[in-house]
Protein backbone atom coordinates (compact mmCIF):
# COMPACT_ATOMS: atom_id res chain seq x y z
CA UNK A 1 0.00 0.00 0.00
CA UNK A 2 2.70 2.53 1.00
CA UNK A 3 4.64 1.47 -2.08
CA UNK A 4 1.64 2.40 -4.24
CA UNK A 5 1.64 5.95 -2.92
CA UNK A 6 5.35 6.37 -3.56
CA UNK A 7 5.04 5.00 -7.09
CA UNK A 8 2.10 7.25 -7.93
CA UNK A 9 3.89 10.32 -6.61
CA UNK A 10 7.09 9.41 -8.44
CA UNK A 11 5.28 8.86 -11.72
CA UNK A 12 2.83 11.70 -11.65
CA UNK A 13 4.23 14.48 -9.44
CA UNK A 14 4.81 16.76 -12.42
CA UNK A 15 1.27 16.26 -13.73
CA UNK A 16 -0.17 17.01 -10.29
CA UNK A 17 2.07 20.06 -9.94
CA UNK A 18 1.67 21.86 -13.28
CA UNK A 19 -0.62 19.68 -15.37
CA UNK A 20 0.44 19.12 -18.98
CA UNK A 21 2.01 22.58 -19.05
CA UNK A 22 4.70 22.65 -21.75
CA UNK A 23 2.54 20.57 -24.08
CA UNK A 24 -0.88 21.78 -22.97
CA UNK A 25 -2.63 24.23 -20.69
CA UNK A 26 -1.17 24.96 -17.27
CA UNK A 27 -2.92 22.80 -14.70
CA UNK A 28 -2.49 21.01 -11.43
CA UNK A 29 -1.58 22.63 -8.15
CA UNK A 30 -0.04 25.66 -9.88
CA UNK A 31 -3.30 26.43 -11.62
CA UNK A 32 -5.31 25.95 -8.43
CA UNK A 33 -3.08 28.49 -6.67
CA UNK A 34 -3.12 30.98 -9.56
CA UNK A 35 -6.89 30.70 -9.88
CA UNK A 36 -7.49 31.26 -6.16
CA UNK A 37 -4.98 34.13 -5.97
CA UNK A 38 -6.52 35.90 -8.97
CA UNK A 39 -10.02 35.27 -7.65
CA UNK A 40 -9.24 36.78 -4.28
CA UNK A 41 -7.31 39.68 -5.87
CA UNK A 42 -10.35 40.64 -7.96
CA UNK A 43 -12.93 39.74 -5.32
CA UNK A 44 -11.33 42.11 -2.82
CA UNK A 45 -11.99 45.43 -4.62
CA UNK A 46 -15.35 44.11 -5.82
CA UNK A 47 -16.33 43.28 -2.25
CA UNK A 48 -15.41 46.80 -1.04
CA UNK A 49 -17.56 48.36 -3.75
CA UNK A 50 -20.42 45.96 -2.92
CA UNK A 51 -20.16 46.74 0.79
CA UNK A 52 -20.19 50.48 0.10
CA UNK A 53 -23.20 50.01 -2.17
CA UNK A 54 -25.02 48.07 0.55
CA UNK A 55 -24.32 50.84 3.07
CA UNK A 56 -25.22 53.55 0.60
CA UNK A 57 -28.09 55.92 1.29
CA UNK A 58 -29.34 55.51 -2.28
CA UNK A 59 -31.86 52.72 -2.66
CA UNK A 60 -30.93 52.03 -6.29
CA UNK A 61 -27.48 51.00 -5.14
CA UNK A 62 -28.54 49.33 -1.90
CA UNK A 63 -31.39 47.13 -3.06
CA UNK A 64 -29.82 45.35 -6.03
CA UNK A 65 -26.67 44.63 -4.03
CA UNK A 66 -28.64 43.30 -1.06
CA UNK A 67 -30.58 41.09 -3.46
CA UNK A 68 -27.37 39.90 -5.11
CA UNK A 69 -25.80 39.02 -1.76
CA UNK A 70 -28.90 37.10 -0.66
CA UNK A 71 -29.13 35.23 -3.95
CA UNK A 72 -25.45 34.31 -3.80
CA UNK A 73 -25.84 33.13 -0.22
CA UNK A 74 -28.90 31.08 -1.03
CA UNK A 75 -27.80 29.36 -4.23
CA UNK A 76 -25.16 26.62 -4.42
CA UNK A 77 -21.85 27.62 -5.98
CA UNK A 78 -22.32 24.76 -8.41
CA UNK A 79 -25.49 26.35 -9.76
CA UNK A 80 -23.67 29.67 -10.15
CA UNK A 81 -20.87 27.94 -12.06
CA UNK A 82 -23.39 26.34 -14.42
CA UNK A 83 -25.01 29.73 -14.98
CA UNK A 84 -21.72 31.41 -15.84
CA UNK A 85 -20.71 28.48 -18.00
CA UNK A 86 -23.91 28.98 -19.96
CA UNK A 87 -24.29 32.77 -19.94
CA UNK A 88 -20.76 34.12 -20.44
CA UNK A 89 -20.13 32.48 -23.84
CA UNK A 90 -23.66 33.49 -24.85
CA UNK A 91 -23.08 37.15 -24.07
CA UNK A 92 -19.55 37.49 -25.31
CA UNK A 93 -20.10 35.27 -28.32
CA UNK A 94 -16.60 33.90 -27.85
CA UNK A 95 -15.22 30.56 -26.80
CA UNK A 96 -14.30 31.48 -23.24
CA UNK A 97 -11.85 29.11 -21.53
CA UNK A 98 -13.26 27.38 -18.46
CA UNK A 99 -10.50 28.93 -16.36
CA UNK A 100 -11.93 32.41 -17.00
CA UNK A 101 -15.48 31.25 -16.35
CA UNK A 102 -14.43 29.78 -13.03
CA UNK A 103 -12.56 33.01 -12.22
CA UNK A 104 -15.62 35.17 -12.88
CA UNK A 105 -17.83 32.85 -10.83
CA UNK A 106 -15.44 32.88 -7.90
CA UNK A 107 -15.12 36.68 -8.00
CA UNK A 108 -18.91 37.06 -7.83
CA UNK A 109 -19.32 34.40 -5.16
CA UNK A 110 -16.44 35.35 -2.89
CA UNK A 111 -17.07 39.04 -3.57
CA UNK A 112 -20.56 38.66 -2.14
CA UNK A 113 -19.28 36.80 0.93
CA UNK A 114 -16.35 39.17 1.47
CA UNK A 115 -18.66 42.16 1.11
CA UNK A 116 -20.50 40.92 4.20
CA UNK A 117 -17.17 40.84 6.03
CA UNK A 118 -16.29 44.36 4.85
CA UNK A 119 -19.73 45.62 5.78
CA UNK A 120 -19.48 44.10 9.25
CA UNK A 121 -16.02 45.68 9.59
CA UNK A 122 -17.32 49.12 8.62
CA UNK A 123 -20.44 48.88 10.79
CA UNK A 124 -18.44 47.69 13.79
CA UNK A 125 -16.33 50.87 13.67
CA UNK A 126 -19.39 52.87 14.62
CA UNK A 127 -20.88 56.07 13.30
CA UNK A 128 -18.51 58.20 15.39
CA UNK A 129 -15.54 57.63 13.09
CA UNK A 130 -17.46 58.87 10.09
CA UNK A 131 -18.86 61.87 12.00
CA UNK A 132 -15.40 62.80 13.26
CA UNK A 133 -13.87 62.51 9.79
CA UNK A 134 -16.64 64.64 8.31
CA UNK A 135 -16.22 67.21 11.08
CA UNK A 136 -12.54 67.43 10.18
CA UNK A 137 -13.49 68.43 6.66
CA UNK A 138 -13.26 65.10 4.79
CA UNK A 139 -15.88 64.46 2.16
CA UNK A 140 -17.61 61.04 2.05
CA UNK A 141 -14.97 59.60 -0.26
CA UNK A 142 -12.07 61.09 1.70
CA UNK A 143 -13.47 59.83 4.98
CA UNK A 144 -13.90 56.33 3.56
CA UNK A 145 -10.50 56.33 1.90
CA UNK A 146 -8.42 57.74 4.76
CA UNK A 147 -10.36 56.95 7.94
CA UNK A 148 -12.93 54.17 7.68
CA UNK A 149 -11.53 51.64 5.21
CA UNK A 150 -7.96 51.52 6.58
CA UNK A 151 -9.28 50.57 10.00
CA UNK A 152 -11.98 48.21 8.74
CA UNK A 153 -9.69 46.42 6.31
CA UNK A 154 -6.88 45.99 8.82
CA UNK A 155 -9.25 44.16 11.14
CA UNK A 156 -10.34 42.05 8.20
CA UNK A 157 -6.97 40.55 7.32
CA UNK A 158 -7.64 37.20 9.09
CA UNK A 159 -11.00 36.80 7.36
CA UNK A 160 -9.27 37.60 4.10
CA UNK A 161 -6.88 34.71 4.62
CA UNK A 162 -9.66 32.33 5.56
CA UNK A 163 -11.56 33.46 2.48
CA UNK A 164 -8.46 32.57 0.49
CA UNK A 165 -8.58 29.10 2.04
CA UNK A 166 -12.23 28.67 1.15
CA UNK A 167 -11.50 29.95 -2.36
CA UNK A 168 -8.90 27.22 -2.75
CA UNK A 169 -11.50 24.71 -1.65
CA UNK A 170 -14.06 26.27 -4.01
CA UNK A 171 -11.78 25.89 -7.02
CA UNK A 172 -12.30 22.11 -6.78
CA UNK A 173 -15.81 22.69 -8.14
CA UNK A 174 -14.21 23.75 -11.42
CA UNK A 175 -13.96 20.00 -11.93
CA UNK A 176 -17.58 20.11 -13.12
CA UNK A 177 -16.71 22.38 -16.06
CA UNK A 178 -13.28 20.79 -16.62
CA UNK A 179 -11.06 23.56 -15.26
CA UNK A 180 -7.57 22.01 -15.37
CA UNK A 181 -6.80 22.30 -11.65
CA UNK A 182 -5.41 19.91 -9.06
CA UNK A 183 -8.62 17.87 -8.77
CA UNK A 184 -8.77 17.55 -12.53
CA UNK A 185 -5.14 16.39 -12.67
CA UNK A 186 -5.85 13.80 -9.98
CA UNK A 187 -8.81 12.44 -11.88
CA UNK A 188 -6.61 12.25 -14.98
CA UNK A 189 -4.11 10.21 -12.99
CA UNK A 190 -6.97 8.05 -11.76
CA UNK A 191 -8.18 7.48 -15.31
CA UNK A 192 -4.71 6.37 -16.38
CA UNK A 193 -4.18 4.02 -13.45
CA UNK A 194 -7.78 2.78 -13.13
CA UNK A 195 -6.91 0.33 -10.35
CA UNK A 196 -5.87 2.59 -7.48
CA UNK A 197 -8.57 5.22 -7.00
CA UNK A 198 -8.26 5.21 -3.22
CA UNK A 199 -4.52 5.95 -3.33
CA UNK A 200 -4.92 8.74 -5.90
CA UNK A 201 -7.73 10.52 -4.10
CA UNK A 202 -6.04 10.13 -0.73
CA UNK A 203 -2.95 11.86 -2.14
CA UNK A 204 -5.24 14.58 -3.47
CA UNK A 205 -6.85 15.02 -0.05
CA UNK A 206 -3.44 15.15 1.65
CA UNK A 207 -2.16 17.85 -0.72
CA UNK A 208 -5.24 19.99 -0.12
CA UNK A 209 -4.96 19.36 3.59
CA UNK A 210 -1.35 20.55 3.76
CA UNK A 211 -2.13 23.62 1.67
CA UNK A 212 -5.23 24.72 3.55
CA UNK A 213 -3.91 23.76 6.98
CA UNK A 214 -0.80 25.90 6.60
CA UNK A 215 -2.83 28.88 5.38
CA UNK A 216 -5.28 28.47 8.26
CA UNK A 217 -2.31 28.38 10.61
CA UNK A 218 -1.04 31.69 9.17
CA UNK A 219 -4.54 33.17 9.49
CA UNK A 220 -4.76 32.18 13.13
CA UNK A 221 -1.39 33.64 14.05
CA UNK A 222 -2.18 36.89 12.21
CA UNK A 223 -5.51 36.99 14.01
CA UNK A 224 -3.79 36.65 17.37
CA UNK A 225 -1.38 39.46 16.51
CA UNK A 226 -4.18 41.76 15.44
CA UNK A 227 -6.21 40.95 18.53
CA UNK A 228 -3.18 41.79 20.64
CA UNK A 229 -2.63 45.07 18.83
CA UNK A 230 -6.27 45.98 19.17
CA UNK A 231 -6.20 45.22 22.85
CA UNK A 232 -3.55 47.93 23.25
CA UNK A 233 -0.16 47.89 24.96
CA UNK A 234 -1.58 47.43 28.45
CA UNK A 235 -3.31 44.21 27.55
CA UNK A 236 -0.56 43.04 25.25
CA UNK A 237 -0.21 39.77 27.10
CA UNK A 238 -3.87 38.86 26.91
CA UNK A 239 -4.58 35.82 24.78
CA UNK A 240 -6.64 36.04 21.63
CA UNK A 241 -9.76 34.85 23.44
CA UNK A 242 -10.01 38.32 24.98
CA UNK A 243 -11.26 39.82 21.74
CA UNK A 244 -12.17 37.11 19.24
CA UNK A 245 -12.77 38.52 15.78
CA UNK A 246 -15.92 37.43 14.10
CA UNK A 247 -14.81 35.59 11.03
CA UNK A 248 -17.54 35.20 8.47
CA UNK A 249 -16.64 32.72 5.82
CA UNK A 250 -18.39 30.25 3.70
CA UNK A 251 -17.44 26.66 4.16
CA UNK A 252 -17.07 24.29 1.31
Amino acid sequence: MIQDFITIIQDYWLLLLIGQYPNGPLGGLANTLILSALAIAFAFPVSILMALARLSKWWFLRWPMTALVYVTRGVPLLMLILWCYFVIPLWTGADVPSFLIMLVTLVIYQGAFLSEVVRAGIVSLGQGQMDAARALGHGYMGAMRFVILPQALYNMIPSMISTFVSTIKDTTLGYVINVPDLTFAASQVNNQLLTQPFQVFLILAVVYYILCWSLTYVANSVERRIARRRAGPRNARLPAEAAPLKTITEQL
Partner: protein, 235 residues
Protein backbone atom coordinates in the same frame (compact mmCIF):
# COMPACT_ATOMS: atom_id res chain seq x y z
CA UNK B 1 -33.27 28.54 -29.51
CA UNK B 2 -36.74 29.94 -28.93
CA UNK B 3 -37.63 32.77 -26.60
CA UNK B 4 -37.79 32.46 -22.86
CA UNK B 5 -40.69 30.19 -22.05
CA UNK B 6 -41.04 28.73 -18.59
CA UNK B 7 -44.25 26.91 -19.44
CA UNK B 8 -42.33 24.65 -21.85
CA UNK B 9 -40.78 23.09 -18.75
CA UNK B 10 -43.59 23.57 -16.25
CA UNK B 11 -46.33 22.15 -18.46
CA UNK B 12 -44.39 19.02 -19.31
CA UNK B 13 -45.34 16.30 -16.80
CA UNK B 14 -42.15 14.34 -17.51
CA UNK B 15 -39.90 17.28 -16.61
CA UNK B 16 -41.98 18.10 -13.57
CA UNK B 17 -41.71 14.57 -12.24
CA UNK B 18 -37.93 14.65 -12.83
CA UNK B 19 -37.68 17.92 -10.93
CA UNK B 20 -39.83 16.61 -8.08
CA UNK B 21 -37.70 13.48 -7.85
CA UNK B 22 -34.63 15.69 -7.75
CA UNK B 23 -36.05 17.82 -4.97
CA UNK B 24 -37.07 14.70 -3.04
CA UNK B 25 -33.56 13.24 -3.36
CA UNK B 26 -31.97 16.56 -2.38
CA UNK B 27 -34.08 16.55 0.77
CA UNK B 28 -33.31 12.91 1.54
CA UNK B 29 -29.60 13.70 1.26
CA UNK B 30 -30.00 16.93 3.21
CA UNK B 31 -32.02 15.51 6.09
CA UNK B 32 -29.95 12.33 6.22
CA UNK B 33 -26.64 14.13 6.33
CA UNK B 34 -27.93 16.78 8.74
CA UNK B 35 -29.07 14.11 11.19
CA UNK B 36 -25.81 12.18 10.83
CA UNK B 37 -23.81 15.38 11.25
CA UNK B 38 -25.66 16.55 14.34
CA UNK B 39 -25.47 13.14 16.04
CA UNK B 40 -21.76 12.86 15.31
CA UNK B 41 -21.16 16.46 16.35
CA UNK B 42 -22.69 15.84 19.76
CA UNK B 43 -20.63 12.66 20.17
CA UNK B 44 -17.47 14.53 19.15
CA UNK B 45 -18.27 17.29 21.59
CA UNK B 46 -18.89 14.79 24.38
CA UNK B 47 -15.56 13.11 23.57
CA UNK B 48 -13.84 16.47 23.65
CA UNK B 49 -15.15 17.62 27.02
CA UNK B 50 -14.81 14.15 28.55
CA UNK B 51 -11.91 13.55 30.95
CA UNK B 52 -10.45 10.97 28.53
CA UNK B 53 -7.12 12.44 27.47
CA UNK B 54 -7.16 10.62 24.13
CA UNK B 55 -10.41 12.33 23.12
CA UNK B 56 -9.04 15.81 22.54
CA UNK B 57 -6.40 15.01 19.87
CA UNK B 58 -8.71 12.57 18.06
CA UNK B 59 -11.48 15.13 17.75
CA UNK B 60 -9.00 17.87 16.82
CA UNK B 61 -7.59 15.70 14.03
CA UNK B 62 -11.09 14.82 12.82
CA UNK B 63 -12.16 18.45 12.72
CA UNK B 64 -8.94 19.57 11.10
CA UNK B 65 -9.16 17.00 8.31
CA UNK B 66 -12.77 17.73 7.48
CA UNK B 67 -12.34 21.49 7.51
CA UNK B 68 -9.16 21.65 5.46
CA UNK B 69 -9.98 19.20 2.70
CA UNK B 70 -12.53 20.38 0.12
CA UNK B 71 -15.91 18.68 0.53
CA UNK B 72 -15.81 17.63 -3.11
CA UNK B 73 -12.53 15.78 -2.58
CA UNK B 74 -13.95 14.09 0.51
CA UNK B 75 -16.94 12.90 -1.52
CA UNK B 76 -14.66 11.64 -4.29
CA UNK B 77 -12.48 9.82 -1.79
CA UNK B 78 -15.56 8.11 -0.37
CA UNK B 79 -17.24 7.20 -3.61
CA UNK B 80 -14.30 6.49 -5.92
CA UNK B 81 -11.83 5.38 -3.25
CA UNK B 82 -13.31 3.77 -0.17
CA UNK B 83 -16.21 2.25 -2.08
CA UNK B 84 -13.79 0.09 -4.08
CA UNK B 85 -11.96 -1.06 -0.95
CA UNK B 86 -15.12 -2.40 0.68
CA UNK B 87 -15.72 -6.14 0.88
CA UNK B 88 -17.59 -7.57 -2.10
CA UNK B 89 -20.85 -8.31 -0.31
CA UNK B 90 -21.14 -4.84 1.16
CA UNK B 91 -20.29 -3.01 -2.06
CA UNK B 92 -22.76 -5.15 -4.02
CA UNK B 93 -25.47 -4.35 -1.53
CA UNK B 94 -24.62 -0.64 -1.73
CA UNK B 95 -24.58 -0.71 -5.52
CA UNK B 96 -28.09 -2.15 -5.50
CA UNK B 97 -29.32 0.39 -2.98
CA UNK B 98 -28.47 3.76 -4.50
CA UNK B 99 -24.82 3.86 -3.41
CA UNK B 100 -24.43 7.43 -4.75
CA UNK B 101 -27.01 8.83 -2.37
CA UNK B 102 -25.70 6.79 0.57
CA UNK B 103 -22.16 8.01 0.01
CA UNK B 104 -23.39 11.56 -0.42
CA UNK B 105 -25.09 11.29 2.97
CA UNK B 106 -21.99 9.77 4.58
CA UNK B 107 -19.53 12.19 2.98
CA UNK B 108 -21.54 15.35 3.59
CA UNK B 109 -22.59 14.22 7.06
CA UNK B 110 -19.08 13.40 8.28
CA UNK B 111 -17.80 16.67 6.86
CA UNK B 112 -20.57 18.75 8.38
CA UNK B 113 -20.17 17.07 11.77
CA UNK B 114 -16.80 18.83 12.08
CA UNK B 115 -18.41 22.24 11.53
CA UNK B 116 -21.36 21.53 13.81
CA UNK B 117 -19.18 20.27 16.64
CA UNK B 118 -16.98 23.39 16.40
CA UNK B 119 -20.08 25.60 16.48
CA UNK B 120 -21.40 23.81 19.55
CA UNK B 121 -18.02 23.92 21.23
CA UNK B 122 -17.56 27.64 20.72
CA UNK B 123 -21.12 28.15 21.94
CA UNK B 124 -20.38 26.22 25.12
CA UNK B 125 -17.05 27.97 25.61
CA UNK B 126 -18.76 31.32 25.57
CA UNK B 127 -20.72 30.35 28.71
CA UNK B 128 -18.69 31.73 31.58
CA UNK B 129 -17.22 29.13 34.01
CA UNK B 130 -18.90 31.05 36.83
CA UNK B 131 -22.22 29.64 35.60
CA UNK B 132 -21.08 26.10 36.38
CA UNK B 133 -19.78 27.08 39.80
CA UNK B 134 -22.98 28.95 40.56
CA UNK B 135 -25.11 26.01 39.46
CA UNK B 136 -23.10 23.62 41.61
CA UNK B 137 -23.29 26.01 44.53
CA UNK B 138 -27.06 25.88 44.15
CA UNK B 139 -26.93 22.11 44.54
CA UNK B 140 -26.90 20.93 40.91
CA UNK B 141 -24.72 17.96 40.10
CA UNK B 142 -22.49 18.04 37.00
CA UNK B 143 -25.11 16.41 34.77
CA UNK B 144 -28.01 18.49 35.95
CA UNK B 145 -25.96 21.72 35.82
CA UNK B 146 -25.09 20.85 32.23
CA UNK B 147 -28.68 20.04 31.42
CA UNK B 148 -30.39 23.02 32.99
CA UNK B 149 -27.77 25.78 33.10
CA UNK B 150 -24.87 25.34 30.69
CA UNK B 151 -26.44 23.62 27.69
CA UNK B 152 -29.41 25.98 27.21
CA UNK B 153 -27.09 28.97 27.14
CA UNK B 154 -24.43 27.28 25.05
CA UNK B 155 -26.81 26.00 22.41
CA UNK B 156 -28.46 29.41 22.22
CA UNK B 157 -25.05 31.01 21.61
CA UNK B 158 -24.28 28.41 18.97
CA UNK B 159 -27.53 28.95 17.06
CA UNK B 160 -26.42 31.59 14.50
CA UNK B 161 -23.43 29.60 13.16
CA UNK B 162 -25.47 26.37 13.30
CA UNK B 163 -28.15 27.95 11.14
CA UNK B 164 -25.56 29.30 8.69
CA UNK B 165 -23.96 25.90 8.39
CA UNK B 166 -27.32 24.19 7.99
CA UNK B 167 -27.95 26.43 4.98
CA UNK B 168 -24.49 25.64 3.59
CA UNK B 169 -25.16 21.94 4.02
CA UNK B 170 -28.32 22.32 1.96
CA UNK B 171 -26.34 24.09 -0.76
CA UNK B 172 -23.52 21.56 -0.53
CA UNK B 173 -25.96 18.74 -1.21
CA UNK B 174 -25.62 19.87 -4.84
CA UNK B 175 -22.05 18.53 -4.79
CA UNK B 176 -23.52 15.05 -4.85
CA UNK B 177 -23.92 15.48 -8.61
CA UNK B 178 -20.18 14.80 -8.95
CA UNK B 179 -20.61 11.25 -7.66
CA UNK B 180 -23.83 10.88 -9.65
CA UNK B 181 -26.51 11.05 -6.99
CA UNK B 182 -29.80 11.90 -8.70
CA UNK B 183 -30.56 15.12 -6.79
CA UNK B 184 -31.91 18.47 -7.94
CA UNK B 185 -28.83 19.75 -9.81
CA UNK B 186 -28.61 16.38 -11.53
CA UNK B 187 -32.25 16.62 -12.60
CA UNK B 188 -31.66 20.17 -13.85
CA UNK B 189 -28.68 19.05 -15.93
CA UNK B 190 -30.65 16.12 -17.32
CA UNK B 191 -33.64 18.21 -18.34
CA UNK B 192 -31.23 20.66 -19.95
CA UNK B 193 -29.72 17.84 -21.97
CA UNK B 194 -33.13 16.69 -23.21
CA UNK B 195 -34.93 19.99 -23.74
CA UNK B 196 -32.07 22.42 -24.55
CA UNK B 197 -34.00 25.02 -22.60
CA UNK B 198 -30.98 25.85 -20.48
CA UNK B 199 -32.11 29.27 -19.37
CA UNK B 200 -35.53 28.18 -18.17
CA UNK B 201 -34.46 25.05 -16.36
CA UNK B 202 -31.50 26.75 -14.64
CA UNK B 203 -33.89 29.46 -13.56
CA UNK B 204 -36.23 26.89 -12.03
CA UNK B 205 -33.33 25.14 -10.29
CA UNK B 206 -31.90 28.39 -8.93
CA UNK B 207 -35.24 29.64 -7.66
CA UNK B 208 -35.93 26.28 -6.01
CA UNK B 209 -32.58 26.32 -4.18
CA UNK B 210 -33.05 29.95 -3.21
CA UNK B 211 -36.58 29.28 -1.97
CA UNK B 212 -35.57 26.39 0.29
CA UNK B 213 -32.42 28.17 1.51
CA UNK B 214 -34.52 31.17 2.52
CA UNK B 215 -37.00 28.85 4.25
CA UNK B 216 -34.19 27.21 6.21
CA UNK B 217 -32.84 30.66 7.13
CA UNK B 218 -36.37 31.67 8.16
CA UNK B 219 -36.86 28.58 10.35
CA UNK B 220 -33.47 29.29 11.91
CA UNK B 221 -34.38 32.90 12.60
CA UNK B 222 -37.67 31.74 14.16
CA UNK B 223 -35.91 29.22 16.44
CA UNK B 224 -33.33 31.85 17.43
CA UNK B 225 -36.14 34.26 18.21
CA UNK B 226 -38.01 31.69 20.29
CA UNK B 227 -34.81 30.88 22.18
CA UNK B 228 -34.16 34.52 23.02
CA UNK B 229 -34.83 34.82 26.77
CA UNK B 230 -35.68 38.53 26.58
CA UNK B 231 -38.47 37.80 24.13
CA UNK B 232 -39.71 34.83 26.11
CA UNK B 233 -39.89 36.86 29.31
CA UNK B 234 -42.05 39.43 27.54
CA UNK B 235 -44.42 36.88 26.08
Amino acid sequence: MNGFDLSAILNNPEYISMLLHGIEMTFIIYIGSWTLAMTLAILLLALRVSPLRIGEPIVAAYVSYHRNVPTLVQLMLWYFGIFTLMPQGLSDWLANNNAEAIFAVIGLGLCQAAYFSEDLRSGLRSVSPGQMEAAQALGHGYASAMRFVIMPQGVRNALPPLINHSVSLFKNSSLAIVIGAPELTHAVKEIENISFRTFEVYMIGTVTYLFFSLIIMGIGAYIAMRADPARRARA
